[in-house]
Symmetry: C2
Subunit: 351 residues, 2 copies
């Protein structure tokens, strides 16, 4: 209410400055600054006077001035490849919570692959407008993290990694996750497996695939490994291609849950029963995967922990630019639901 009153009776446009508060409280501007920031050298009495004057005038410190002087903005950038698939919003929600708790605002930088390596866009990251950057969209070939790191911008890489860079990286154990998925299908008896993975230039795809192949070396021929975007449409398209091809697989490994759901959608439309006629596995265990309409067998990649901890790590890194960088691998655990089962006998007989 104090805010309201002062707002209507305030000077024309100009916002209230610390000098005006100082005048009202009968002290110097520097005293206002110190009082409001909790400097211990200010007496209790003065502090209260200043606080009251500030409240009455509806004073709010100007963030640009504060940033200019203090060399910190209280803003972090979070870079994601997209935001309309379910995976990132879910992470962003956790990330946002952490940053908010630490007193940081979050600017969202949507970084579509096709606009990468556009150096001009780096400007807004090097201009000291963000105190640090959490990069969730790194690709193996991206030089951007290196440039930023060289310019002294605190960086943490989440989810994906970039080799040969001395920065904090928090990623899931994609290799083990790949192995777990493959082993699960192998255990069920599948011998005709296909994979609809994400973009080859992502570390997630690369490592998941390596894990998968380390188990399914024989039964997953390269021609049954498809690459596409991490999107519902890509899964949908891949499934149509695979089920209409010559060698119809009895199981499809999806690069992530979003792709897996696209696959399920296509299969249902084609009248292919899941899991009886086709097993589907995903990665990430996004919330949707547990919905009854999907009940998707997938791998919990510790995404929530990565979100939380990578945000925390960035906050630490901003405060202590030096200190050893850590590269952490988060454990993955298979979550078996309803989309995987043993292949039909006939399929086995075809062998």
């Amino acid at each position: 209410m104090a805010l309201d009153d002062s707002a209507s009776s305030a000077k024309p446009p100009g916002r209230v400055t610390s000098r005006e508060v100082a005048a009202a409280a009968g002290v110097h501007q520097s005293t206002v600054s110190r009082a409001l920031r909790g400097d211990s050298r200010i007496s209790q009495a003065t502090r209260e006077q200043v606080e009251q004057a500030a409240r009455q005038l509806g004073y709010v410190p100007n963030s640009s001035a504060r940033s200019l002087r203090s060399q910190r903005t209280g803003i972090v950038g979070v870079m994601v490849p997209n935001i309309d698939n379910a995976y990132y919003p879910q992470m962003l929600s956790d990330i946002n919570r952490e940053f908010a708790a630490a007193g940081y605002s979050m600017v969202l930088i949507v970084d579509p692959p096709h606009r990468r390596s556009d150096v001009s866009r780096l400007g807004s990251l090097l201009d000291a407008s963000v105190d640090g950057l959490l990069i969730l969209s790194a690709t193996l070939d991206s030089g951007m993290p290196a440039v930023l790191h060289a310019r002294g911008v605190p960086i943490v890489l989440g989810v994906r990694s970039v080799p040969g860079l001395d920065v904090d990286i928090m990623e899931p154990d994609n290799f083990s996750a790949g192995r777990a998925v493959a082993q699960h299908l192998l255990d069920l008896g599948h011998s005709e497996v296909a994979a609809a993975m994400g973009p080859e230039i992502t570390s997630t795809t690369k490592h998941r695939l390596l894990g998968i192949q380390s188990v399914l070396a024989g039964t997953l021929p390269p021609e049954r490994i498809l690459h596409g975007q991490y999107s519902h449409e890509a899964g949908y398209a891949a499934c149509n291609r695979l089920l209409r091809g010559a060698d119809v697989p009895t199981a499809i490994i999806a690069g992530n849950d979003v792709i897996a759901i696209g696959i399920m959608d296509a299969a249902r439309q084609l009248g292919v029963a899941i899991p009886d006629e086709l097993s589907v596995v995903g990665f990430d265990d996004i919330q949707m995967a547990s919905w009854h309409s999907f009940r998707l067998t997938t791998v919990d990649m510790g995404t929530a922990a990565i979100a939380e901890q990578s945000a925390r790590r960035l906050v630490e890194r901003i405060q202590h630019a030096d200190g050893p960088k850590r590269h952490e691998l988060f454990p993955a655990s298979l979550t078996v639901r309803g989309t995987t089962t043993a292949p039909r006998k006939e399929s086995l007989i075809v062998e």
Copy 2:
């Protein structure tokens, strides 16, 4: 590469300033500023010299200093109630595109209902750190938009509205959408309808419900109108309640698509066939609604247009604070898919 080189050979930590560029180019700091900002009074020759020096040194203008001086930050705030349901991420994607095109960065402000009216949190919105605010999370009882508006922060309200406020509002025609949904069910012959809506304090829920009731006055008794969050869980819970109650409805109107999908999930789990045993309708027509696993009958609320235009409007409003505010209603159109059909005969007989 120029960036790289200078980075490794740069001064200890301090970033390059316009003064250093000036020294290198043999001109005054003000000339650097003008040359780089494209001031027409600078000669072509000088401009090129300055640009080269800036490039060589890897100069990037400090955004805080620029903001302090120019009184604009190039950042807009976008306030959403949550980000893990599909609706907002999808909007944010469009919104982000518009703001990026207009040269604005976007800080995401997740504004959970339970933390509302916490005036202290307004600080970060009044400190001139954002040039304007796009509010997608307004509730009917929220005084926050009024306070911000009174303090001169450019505001646009998207999706939801707040009465008695002279700001730009771009919302869907919720009333007509409600009518359309209700009429559709009526036409199909449903007489036992229930509704699982969103929070009562949202303008969307209020107006959709008014539209619905204007058509279904008799057949939708208050006790079959449930209110909850706009979430999958809320839909799931509501469905369980409704289908296990005494009067089992033949159709449920969901407050939005996310709720509708929660309802479908619960129904499937209970073994209730959709649409044969239960019709479900949503609002918004989010992408997921068209997925084959759902094929949800819903209402296209013009969300994409609202996203795009509300972002544009905010940009205009920032540039011209005055000028008449507009309150636009975007047309809604029913999209019939596979989740609605005529009620079973037996249900009719029960009448």
